[in-house]
Symmetry: C3
Subunit: 275 residues, 3 copies
């Protein structure tokens, strides 16, 4: 069955861990179409994995199986799950890494810590507990290869969801850092991702921005208004990036390096007439 | 349609930008065969993209579509184009990144700056202006995903070239740094690429070298004659590399590190009896 | 023919050398399924290539062709070979990089230097000497592209092994660093690989460990007993990793960085009652 299976891991490129997973999948379904989503998630960084995954999922064909192995709890009692959305399947440890592919109404709620949350009605999930679909011997340190990869392969071959284990109705959801509205009308956002270009991607979406003209403050610098491309505006510019989030970019350079900004740092948005 | 589509970008490996493009292509043509050509082009480095692209293009099957996204001008008035050569299609911004896949007679001319140049007769090109083949909404910062990837997919499905936009007869061509012949017969070349091994790849081709015995000077060191393999010759050796260019290599080490050489640095070639 | 071909090289990700090889293969067999095993082998590091290759080979489908280009001797008289095991084909320079895919009885012997060793009965091999299957012109510096890649493609199309060259019965085998048993009953092992997580993978297998309770000494620190997952145990823990080897890991960090350990460093195993 020519099903697309994407792989997202924190395995990097120095080992053959990703290749071992691909070998397991191709041994069971030689027609699977394997696509690397990203393997540069920082080791065990669940929230980075959740963000990067969510940034690309929706561009894949309906029916795609997304396999995510960012799994610091491997070998402990943490569950692995299959989550079915209207368009996709996700196979991952139940540790929050799927938070941002659940509909925004859930993830953008006021959670302040990682919590079990009831799945919206259009999602289904099972815990991966049926050992029939695993590879043996099961390594205690690499369920990606011995549990999740073969489950992805059998799922791609059409095995029904309910055969992999019992139904679950709640999964772990990470708190999503919300933009904060201050009493003076300013909005405080945070940098949630820094891309290869050094662009600062924030938790502020297009719809969070006021209709009026705005100014931004980042690392003590003021940016007036939004630019329409990376090549227009001053050295430092603000723009709605390809994920629909507010970004800061440095023309012909890395905003992260130039400003000394890290993930989690604050940015400020104010109405133009405040300046 | 089982068409090969290669991807060359400056997106690196820390994000899911490449994966988003692959998802878009596979959504339209599930049978496309996707091959990463290179994603480590330095951010917005058009000439490096042009060189790396040209180093691998000709090894692909006839009919391959090469998609190149090194696009500092995205969202501005710069054009995106489809270029058709006798063997391949290229989809890229019209910013010079296709210079070195045009026939050498054109690129090896005496250009000293980037200029619009008339295409040789065996090439055809169109500007990508027909919005029918794009993905919506079109992000202003990621035409690779929303314009060029879907165009690559439709092209791989057999959509005729002329449907994507109006014909263009000239495209931007980068100046190619030519080896210079000095009055004393010496040839001055430049380092145009440094590979993973630290080998220094120059703009000097086999046919630029005199028939007689030659000596080379690089970073103040003299190398006499050409070696036939990396494992023969002294510590520092000169060799015609796999791209047909003169290279300098350091046995069991990186010539770039040992000599402190950067891209753009000069090397000198002289006839043996001059020494 | 839909045969899986894996690629293992020291080419890294900054050039298009890997892409050139893929282009050559797809030009000859458009249906080949190409899988990157690993391209981050340190330049010309044959023993690292041998280890990483051996860590993933067995997860691939029977009939897979494994192509390995870690080839410091390219262009010299070193042979390139095809090795056939009961399950796989391997195409590589005959420089020891295939050592660890030969059965353990051979590689775990007391070799102290790289030597030609007679192949076990279940293996066959030929030297790649028939120029009929090469790509022309053959670059003296890139047999991966011009000799080994086309040979992999023809092999994937069903060309019989013996057509590629004459039979060979011995190939170069690296010494495998054996755990040493000391007079006092302690076992001295070595770190043979450090993965992306900074886990220290040793040459000690599960079956080398005594049945009794054990303690480990690494970089002056004592670890008592084996953990069952990376998330249980103290900061520094010992565990049987996914390759069946004894590993040392640091909870939520890199053991290599925390302990200042490099490949080749010693670790010590002793019976619990010795402490």
């Amino acid at each position: 069955m020519r099903t697309v299976i994407t792989l997202t891991t924190d395995f990097g490129y120095t080992d053959a861990y990703v290749a071992a997973m691909k070998g397991v999948i191709l041994s069971l379904n030689p027609e699977a179409i394997l696509v690397d989503l990203c393997h540069s998630i920082a080791p065990q960084n669940i929230s980075q994995g959740a963000f990067v995954l969510s940034s690309a999922v929706k561009y894949f064909p309906s029916g795609t199986i997304h396999l995510i192995v960012v799994d610091p709890g491997v070998g402990t009692l943490r569950r692995a799950i299959i989550l079915k959305s209207p368009d996709y399947f996700f196979i991952a440890p139940d540790n929050g890494v799927l938070s941002y592919v659940i509909k925004p109404s859930l993830t953008r709620s006021k959670l302040t810590s990682t919590k079990l949350r009831k799945l919206p009605a259009e999602f289904q999930a099972v815990a991966i507990t049926n050992p029939k679909f695993w590879r043996y011997p099961v390594s205690n340190t690499f369920h990606g290869r011995d549990v999740m990869a073969p489950v992805a392969a059998y799922l791609s071959l059409g095995t029904p969801l309910e055969q992999f284990g019992e139904k679950v109705t709640s999964i772990l959801i990470l708190p999503f850092p919300q933009p904060q509205k201050e009493l003076n009308g300013e909005i405080i956002g945070r940098v949630i991702h820094i891309d290869r270009f050094g662009n600062l991607i924030t938790n502020v979406s297009r719809q969070d921005l006021p209709e009026s003209k705005v100014a931004f403050e980042v690392a003590g610098k003021i940016v007036e208004g939004l630019s329409h491309s990376y090549a227009e505006g001053g050295e430092l510019l603000a723009i709605i990036g390809s994920s629909g989030h507010l970004e800061f970019a440095w023309r012909d350079g890395s905003a992260a390096d130039k400003l000394g900004i890290k993930i989690g740092d604050r940015i400020k948005i104010r109405l133009e007439w405040d300046t």
